[in-house]
Amino acid sequence: MDLPLSVTASRDLLSLNEVLFHLARAAAGAGAPVGICEEFAATASWLAFIRMDPARAALPALDALAGGQSSGDLVIREGRIACREGRMVSAIFAGPVIMDRLSMEPAEPVTLQVDEVDVPLLLAGAAAASGLGHARLVMHAGAGTVIDVAGGKVAVKGGATCDRAAVTIMANAPGAAVPDCAPLHVIDEGRKAALEHGIAVDSTAWSGILAYYYKTLVPSTERSRSAGAGPADGT
């Protein structure tokens, strides 16, 4: 699937809080538990700070999880994260696992292999959130996108297109550093821009996310209507 660095012409402008709120609940609508949903929302929103569209990255992950193509029933053995059921690894679930692994040894070299994952790009946000010194994500598909995350900066090489792919994550490899190549994204600047101007998301993808969110809402009934604030007494 194509995941462009910039959003499409048909776009909605949202606040960061709206993106976080709806992504978390959309993940619940796709079947993820609450703690996973919160991490997913944070890591997907992180893509906005490097000028990518969080909605276009999040929707296929939600679709894959809800449709059963990917799963969160994971197992980790000798640095390899795989799905127990032979399905694709769900990035929604794998993100927190990676975050935990990397945060346990924030200064040590660690290599993690992830079997075919539905939306590998989402793992970059998880690596960034782990607070380690440096991480490189290599996506083993197409042109082989490489993402370096370090010191609050992110470099993306090999184009921003990435389909489902196996991923290698190398944290704190000896001699690793953020390469001095364009485009180099500074997270704090991206975050500031998101807060000042909002986050642009593809309208169609956002509608898809809202569809998952709506699944978490309970249909209204006459009885449930009575459980809220205030009658129409006009006083």
């Binding site: 703690g35 696992v97 959130a129 607070g131 249909p219 459980a227 009658p231 006009g234």
Partner: protein, 556 residues
Amino acid sequence: MTAAEDVPQLRPPGEVMRLERMGASFPTRLSFMRQLVRRMIRERWRFERMRLDLDHNGTGVTLHAVHGRHRTYTLVGFSGSIDPRERTDRVIANVWDTTFSLFDGVPGAADIERLEANTPRQEAGRFRASELVLARANRSGRIFDHVVDSLAGGRQPCRDLLRDVGYLMRTTAVYGSGKFGCADRGRIAGREELRGPFQAELLAVYLIRWMSVDLVNHMARQRSGLKAAELSEDLARTLGIGNATGLGMAPFLVKHPLLINNWVMARENALLRVRKVERATPDTIAEFRELLDDARRHVAAWAVDDPEQSARISRLGDDLARLDTWCDDGLDGERPFDALWRLASRRFSLEGQEMVVALLLEHQGTLIDGLCESMSSGGLPALKAAMPLGDLINLIDDNYGWALAIDHAAPESRQRFWYYSQEKLEPRVGDRYTEPGADLEMAVAIGRDVAMLRAGLLDHDPRISVADFLVTAPEWRSTVRRVQHLAHLPYAEIRDNLLAADRRPVDILRFKLAFFGANGFDPKSDLWTRVTMYQGAPLPADITGGTEPQWIFPCP
């Protein structure tokens, strides 16, 4: 009494964070409205009525600006008058008398045009980061027309009626923090004047109060010209802004445990500091007794329909009478406020005890106002992935005894479930055994979840890490993270079962509204309450003039 018992201590969380006591909370000088008003006075904020473009029915556009030390904020109002039968406090309403946006700066013509197309639509509109708050309000069916008619007739409205109602308009929603495209909290949290909790939202409400007084004066003038009277400053000061609050505040408290801990910790530290005061000067005693008189008048005028709350108010009046008698000589000894507190905690009702907290804090600004700086917070830090499960179990045992003591299997312990309705996302409470939707319940059952987590952990090797555990049990991630980070924050958790059939959600609402600074709690059921905000607060002219009358216990 032993020597250890004689030293004032923080109140234990098992006492403070129970719903019954939370539902007896009163505003204090640390409350957020009070913080805002003190800042406005200290910094001599200036108020500017920039536009009052209204017809005789009060339909039109208003701009009310306030110039702070560094920035200007403008309340943009779109005013009209709806059919009284359509005036509902519910979130699910679709029309309102007046809608508002709090604009960051002074809006230009294009901004106003854009807001005119969106603000009246409220949740259906779209907003930008230049808008900090979205709100709406309805006119009081009981006094709005009476006030306009009186002023148009050249006379002041009935003081008793104004006192009974307490407001000209009642807000039914005040949205901030990025809702519907408005500015994220992160955009404004670094500003000195908005750093404290809910300062932007409460600034908007303060400006709505000012606008509501302008509205009645303007409508009266439109009708009667020079013959119209202007609402006296004395009466205007007695009017606040009404508010109806439902269940939405409850999940907020559960979701923001660090914030709640910081609010309560500030208040409890303030109480402790006051209790440690060695002696009260004659002036301090006189000030305290004067405030106590105001509190007694305030309570005497506090009338509600709810029989349970009425009984509590009656008991509160008795407590304050007893306190008044005690004060004849009780404040003369060592640690007088500690002695007073000990009297209250032994003899008074919960309402009486919590009002004593407000009384004790009120005149101790020098001692406690600095604590306001500690009342904000960020979110929960990241999970501590390397923690062994044995350590996690110990944290639960040390800090969640209240949760483990609940019989979560009993049907009545899990009777309620909280959910968001499809209807305008209104938070609601349902009966698990008779209503659909329990499979979509909100994650507010912290006690139940912690107890279930602990039971599940016993099946695992206590030496394995939390990270390993969560690979195969991701459903516990949120609870694990919560337990890890709240272990040393005593006031972070509501130590009660929110699912239990006999718990009153309205207690949570009162707790939060008291921290906001709201008064006049008027519970309409177990699920919602009315309150008044800024009643008795200084008017814009008072603020610019640098004066703050006593208004913690308004007694019009």
